[in-house]
């Protein structure tokens, strides 16, 4: 009697277990990206590069490019742009625009794509002459064993003077993610 119950339970457990699942990954999460852009926006707002500027400083026009992804994870192109746009569009940076006489211009890639599609007005962005470029690179290093994996991420944002090639600002941000479970399974 008891054994029959055990047999029933075994099959029941097997059926229930067969319908559930849990998984882990060291991939970048939206939370990681949120943290990264928030930290970088604040670091840029607090930077010497901007602190030394006044409304009378020469106009700083910054072009952005999408993030360069040198991690072991995919960052979809839309997110690569988002990671730059969110730093650009963050509140501290917007407030500083007038006080520091700085502005951002449309990315060259977007301009090229718009012109190719033929949906930009005649003469659009003819006066676009960026003085600086903001870029970012995501790196990662991986350690893995049979059942565990850790990815350490290093994010670097930079602003470069396009005329002199001087690196005028750069900051890094690090975090790591760990996961357990058989990689092949």
């Amino acid at each position: 009697m008891r054994r029959l119950g055990v047999a029933c339970s075994l099959v029941c457990a097997v059926v229930v277990v067969g319908c559930s699942g849990a998984a882990k990954s060291t991939r970048l999460t939206m939370g990681d990206l949120d943290d990264t852009t928030a930290v970088m926006a604040q670091k840029l707002a607090d930077s010497r590069l901007l602190a030394d500027r006044t409304p009378e400083s020469p106009r700083m026009l910054i072009a952005i490019n999408k993030v360069e992804n040198l991690t072991s994870d995919l960052i979809p192109e839309s997110e690569e742009w988002l990671l730059m746009e969110r730093v650009k569009g963050s509140l501290p940076i917007l407030n500083l625009g007038k006080e520091r006489n700085m502005a951002f211009v449309i990315p060259a890639n977007h301009l090229r794509a718009g012109r190719k599609r033929g949906n930009l007005p005649q003469g659009f962005a003819m006066e676009r002459r960026p003085t600086h470029e903001m870029t970012a690179t995501f790196h990662s290093g991986t350690r893995s064993s049979r059942k565990d994996r850790t990815d350490a991420y290093l994010v670097e944002y930079r602003i470069t003077d396009l005329e002199t090639g001087t690196l005028e600002w750069n900051e890094t941000f690090e975090f790591k993610r760990a996961a357990a479970g058989l990689a092949y399974d």
Partner: protein, 561 residues
């Protein structure tokens, strides 16, 4: 007593229902035949329609990998963006089946979410790398190619000095159990291997190409060197990729990859049965409108060999076989039934035996596999210097493999472009060898007979509406009372997607093949050659307005003749 019988019946019915319900989705033979003949439109639309949004669906990854390969073969990398990202996300998830392992060992391995054998996973990553590269996302291509270069498990050689088979490994594990007690065999399977660097040449080459495109020359050279260490005959290709002048890389699939079948006692083991035999035939390459640094490219990857190697096997069938082939539960159950003193004990024994029988009957190796993988892959650099260039590809000694790629142009801004080409597996196809472009399209700068009127209005132009296309139509005397927006509305009336965004990022068939998409495939792909290298039946308008417009245009044509 009655309920006991009912309990046993319930166990039996439950297990059988579970087994029946767990059959993986098999591909329709017609879809396979269509894909073999290079007609990718119909199968990819069918796959898109049946795609499950539930990541715990057992075929979630498999269906996406199938769709990814065919969408790339059809030259539509943008339409593959979502499935590529979703495939990567789950391939990179560890322990996806952790909660299903027990059930799969006891009952049926195909209860698990299909993640593929390690060689299928590595190839899955490379198709994602190709999709990213075709979109010009070389950084993401590098990430995906890197992911394909995971460590492999080596259990060493057998007594004959050859790599062990899965059945030999299971036997050794059973011997370990017998020698050192229950559990020793599992320990041997789980820990008795040496992690070794991968021999996945295709992954090294794609990683090298991506790094080269990113300007990371040292990392590129390292990867090309690794490829040559594994396959010395690839040195000319690797040297060309590392140093020669090229702006286009072709990754060329040929043949049908091996099919996964069950084998061994109780069909508990799996093996891959060869469809297209392996050989050493190189790929002949010639370019019109450019040059080929390597005219005879050696094979980069032989999938038959990968599939046959224990290192590229996840050993799940070995674990399952170890638990089933011994039939401990079955034997134990019958023993209890035979020796039990009470009717309860006997009945319980019969229950266990029945469960064991059912497990034995339903247990078998998982035979789901990625059907659209090739037998072999070539990687070929070419330098395209003129628009509308053509590239002729043919596997040496296999005339029916001939494909003439059309619509190739140098990449924008002096960069590097990637093209994935799937050569036909079955029979010669006239379009594959035609080398012609018979319909005007946005990837082709030359003129085509009939390109002065859109295909949907009776002509032979399938360019999306644009000022340039409109000018061409109007200069020929057509659509003189229409604007670009009017023409866009004609397409909208017909329910035709003008862009991948219009198609909500999904894989849809082209209007030339009876579909509802006007998205032009990438030049230099099999999809482009098939769509534009042969004539298609005239378009049948769906809306009343467009039918009337076509009628007016016919009357205009009759009046001018």
């Amino acid at each position: 007593m009655e309920w006991r019988r009912a309990g046993i019946t319930w166990i039996a019915a439950g297990a059988v229902a579970l087994a029946a319900g767990c059959q993986g989705r098999r591909l329709d033979a017609n879809l396979m035949a269509a894909a073999d003949a290079g007609r990718y439109g119909q199968p990819r639309v069918a796959l898109q329609k049946n795609l499950s949004d539930n990541p715990s669906d057992r075929s979630y990854i498999l269906d996406r990998l199938r769709l990814l390969i065919l969408t790339l073969a059809d030259g539509q990398p943008d339409a593959a963006e979502e499935v590529a990202n979703q495939t990567f996300r789950l391939l990179r998830t560890q322990g996806l089946n952790a909660d299903r392992t027990a059930v799969s060992v006891v009952l049926n391995e195909d209860l698990k979410i299909w993640k593929g054998e390690p060689f299928e996973q590595a190839l899955g990553y490379t198709y994602i790398a190709l999709q990213k590269a075709e979109r010009g996302e070389w950084d993401n291509s590098r990430a995906a190619a890197n992911a394909s270069l995971f460590l492999l498990k080596s259990f060493g050689d057998n007594e004959r000095g050859e790599e062990m088979t899965n059945i030999e490994l299971a036997r050794r594990a059973a011997e370990e159990d017998a020698r050192a007690g229950e559990g020793a065999g599992d320990r041997y399977i789980n820990k008795g291997y040496t992690p070794v660097k991968t021999n996945f040449v295709l992954g090294y080459l794609l990683n090298g190409v991506a790094n080269k495109a990113l300007g990371r020359s040292d990392e590129a050279s390292d990867n090309f060197n690794e490829a040559v260490i594994v396959r010395p005959e690839l040195k000319p290709v690797a040297d060309a990729l590392d140093r020669a002048v090229y702006n286009t890389v072709l990754v060329v699939d040929f043949g049908r990859g091996p099919s996964k079948v069950t084998t061994g006692p109780d069909d508990a083991f799996s093996r891959f049965a060869i469809n297209t035999p392996s050989d050493a035939a190189p790929l002949s390459v010639s370019v019109s409108g450019g040059s080929a640094p390597v005219s005879q490219a050696a094979q980069a990857q032989d999938i038959n060999r990968m599939a046959a190697s224990l290192m590229w096997n996840n050993l799940e069938d070995v674990r399952q076989a170890k638990s089933v082939v011994g039939s401990g539960l079955l034997i134990g159950g019958l023993a209890v039934a035979g020796t039990g003193r009470s009717r309860d004990t006997q009945l319980a024994g019969v229950g266990l035996a029945l469960t064991g029988l059912l497990m034995k009957a339903t247990s078998h190796a998982d035979t789901r596999y990625a059907e659209f993988l090739p037998q072999r892959v070539y990687v070929v650099p070419v330098n395209i210097t003129q628009p509308d260039a053509t590239v002729r590809l043919e596997v040496a000694g296999v005339p029916q493999s001939l494909m003439v790629l059309t619509g190739l142009a140098p990449p924008d801004a002096g960069g590097v472009q990637m093209r994935y080409v799937k050569l036909n597996t079955s029979g010669p196809q006239s379009w594959a060898a035609s080398g012609q472009v018979l319909y005007g399209n946005e990837e082709f700068t030359g003129r085509v007979d009939g390109d002065t009127l859109p295909y949907v209005l009776g002509g032979r132009d399938v360019s999306p509406p644009s000022p340039e296309a409109m000018q061409r139509y109007q200069q020929a005397g057509w659509l003189t009372d229409m604007t670009v927006v009017d023409l866009e509305n004609v397409y909208r009336d017909e329910g035709i997607a003008l862009s991948t965004e219009d198609a909500r990022g999904q894989s849809r068939a082209h209007v030339l093949e009876g579909g509802d998409s006007l998205v032009t495939p990438l030049g230099g792909t099999a999809g482009y050659a098939r769509l534009f290298g042969q004539l298609h039946p005239p378009y049948m308008p769906r809306s009343k307005d467009v039918r009337e417009l076509v009628k007016r245009l016919r009357e205009q044509a009759d009046g001018s003749n």
